[in-house]
Subunit: 202 residues, 4 copies
DNA sequence: TATGAATGAGCCTTCATTCAT
DNA sequence: CATGAATGAAGGCTCATTCAT
């Protein structure tokens, strides 16, 4: 029976204010970049005032950090799930590669912001984000090393270089993937996984 | 004969003022980002005054554009040279891949700026830079398609996707390559070329 | 009989909310100044919310005014008591001088706020406070004039100038008196009274 | 012959911009207090824009510090001159006391700002100002101690307490001295010096 | 050629206060 | 009595750019 008390929703949207702000910021940061987007634009897009923004977020930086945290959390969880299966390592790596590509595309705005503006964060938050990102990379690298030890993957290229190579591509997905293009997110994911696994064939 | 008139060189370095400005801007943009670098910082680093900067460059944006033009020119020239050889296509692609990696590393600051700040350009200059960039991609893609037609490369993945995949990695080199690391630029180039060519094995 | 209904006391201290707010505000105003202290800080220090503050006080200014009223009331009462005695005027002046110094030190935070922030009050309240202050000065001056008429005090310096001179010092007590210093409040009071009375010797 | 090149004077006043800014800030700070005066008000009063202010001063704080430095410098110099004479110590102290009162009155705005807003300075500048102020006090105290050793002044009250007592009064001159009152600055100075010296009679 | 004082617009942030619940 | 989300106005400061010299 609907909200019975004031619960941070306004008539203009129905979604709670913090979420509206985050959504507006995400879109604007992705379109114009972090530095080029003013707090004024964000609150106007969200239909609130500056005071409201600073009621929920400590700073413009915080908004950015929140966006990062959201995408990092999702990807880490999904990778953990995939990597924990008992399938052969090649299948697990393929599944992980497809999955990370798909979720990257599904959150293309967040990813774009991530790699364009990560370095705008203050030193402390920057380190934190880098650390989480590194954990993600390491989980992925472990899969590759496992395959190399088993002999199903070539050991010609160091595993960490392979990871950097592959993720580099993912980070740039937002600069060439077009939602209205010929390929679905899944198809792109399959292709990228193909490339990775072929490059790893012994 | 030596310089007979004031020729925009000062005692402090000998290099002409415009080049000093460009060098200072490149370093600062790479370190702090374009938006975070003030014109004041640039002129101080170059040892000149604001008036001098605006004498040689129309705007801060111009500086950025100049940096882009420089790196684009260099890479295009080198790719043209490599691609024009008469060696088998696999060898030409490998040589091109190694070369682009090496020059990217040698101009890591420029590359970093390129991908971090490209979108700061006004629409017109932005289109121009994208067009040049596309020409570069197409030259590279043509090599892959040639190999696919000849059957020496797998046609499983569309050539343009392979190009985007590979260049995505290169664009992120600046975020993981460390000049003081274990691998020389050439070694990294060889590894990346290996990965590309293995991914293209039929 | 004990409190039978909610009476604005909370578990956290037992003291009623308005008093807790006043105490928190006094400490913070003295430490950081009135303008540098936010309402948010005050309510946090008092362990209540903004709504509570505005329930008891009309504005931040009111808080300040309340602090003034408190210190003015205390000092006026004590001066009245001392001055009304039937001792010789020199003794009464000395007692008054000692007393005002002691109470000033005992309420050093209030005094500090008083002289640092008095001018923040709106014109009306400002006039009111100044008037009360003046009444206090006049009471003190009357003692001096009495002594001058009797010939026990020198008349070389106009009484009101002597008052301004002496109170100026008191107002600055908060900037040099240290509770952990060598002198007790009473000792400081005696010294200041000495100085005043010696300056008034014929 | 007047200014031949651009020299930071504008038509609207003739005085250089920094001095105009300082004068405007001094008046406004004295009238309204530091916190209540906005940078916007200052630049409007000086007839320039904010950019100009920040061209000459690093911050609003800097303006304050500059005002302090000015008055501190003047007073220190004059005290040094007076104290260095070869007159008897009582005469030197009297001259110093008169002089400090006169210069305080002559720079009443600066003094007012000084004691109302000193604590607004950042910790570093605050320490610096306090240190200079202390040096001034110590110079004055040395005169009193000299007289006490010679027996021309009473030793009943510790010299540093006498100094704090006397300067406390001076600091509050701005709250009771009226330029349009009956007493000239010099007369006030003489009276205050009288009070001090009488309080120090053995 | 080169200077640097000055502009003017905009930026992020703070804060006392209100009000529906 | 009390909450705390939201407002709205202002505040200090930065910065690319211009222009008289």
């Amino acid at each position: 029976m609907g909200p019975t008390r004031r619960d941070a929703r306004t008539a203009s949207g129905g979604r709670p204010v913090p979420r509206r702000l985050l959504a507006a910021a995400t879109r604007l940061f992705a379109d114009q970049g972090y530095d080029r987007t003013s707090v004024q634009e964000i609150v106007e897009a969200a239909g609130v005032t500056k005071g409201a923004l600073y009621h929920y977020f400590g700073s413009k930086d915080d908004l950015l950090h929140e966006i990062y945290a959201r995408v990092l959390r999702v990807q880490q969880e999904r990778l953990d799930a995939v990597a924990a299966s008992s399938a052969p390592v090649a299948e697990r790596l393929r599944a992980a590669a497809v999955d990370v590509a798909v979720t990257t595309i599904e959150n293309l705005d967040d990813t774009k912001i991530f790699f364009q503006s990560m370095h705008r964060l203050g030193p402390e938050k920057y380190r934190q984000v880098r650390a989480e990102r590194r954990r993600y990379h390491e989980r992925f690298r472990a899969l590759i090393e496992e395959g190399q030890r088993e002999g199903v993957f070539s050991g010609a290229t160091p595993a960490d270089l392979v990871v950097d190579y592959h993720f580099g591509s993912l980070h740039h997905l937002s600069s060439w993937y077009r939602p209205d293009g010929a390929l679905t997110p899944r198809e792109v994911g399959e292709h990228l996984a193909d490339l990775l696994l072929r490059a790893l064939r012994p």
